[in-house]
Point group: C2
Chain length 83, copies 2
């Protein structure tokens, strides 16, 4: 199965990379864009024979993939590998 | 409105960052993880008064946010700003 982990900066955390992209977009005429925040999308291919697989994905996302001080995450599971 | 742009490396493109994360996960005992691919999640806050707004989001995603040689993108629109 495939697990997608969406990682975002917490709202209180400044995002200089996003600010730089926003500035570029506005310079290039995309004035309708008012804010840009950049996060991560991590796709994991997982052997789901373990019955605790969801708990383990939660755990590795919290402990390893994200920095819980600065980031939050959501997990989406895709049982069908084709997606 | 909010637009989310999900950017992924094309399948044929190597992902050394993902490989490094995979290696760390396996070292730490998460052997069920078989592959890791790392992409980007870009959240745009957009003033949607322009009737062509979807076309413009497509355009800026293609021209500016992604490298079309190496990456693909999907866009999701969230009319409700609360999400």
């Amino acid at each position: 199965m495939k697990a997608r982990v969406y990682i975002r900066l917490k709202p209180a955390i400044l995002d200089p990379q996003g600010k730089a992209v926003l500035h570029s977009l506005q310079q290039l005429g995309y004035d309708e864009v008012k804010s840009v925040r950049i996060g991560k999308l991590i796709e994991l291919e997982i052997d789901n024979s373990d019955p605790d697989v969801m708990k383990r994905i939660q755990e590795l996302s919290h402990k390893i993939l994200t920095n819980p001080l600065m980031e939050t995450f959501d997990i989406k599971i895709d049982e069908d590998d084709a997606a």
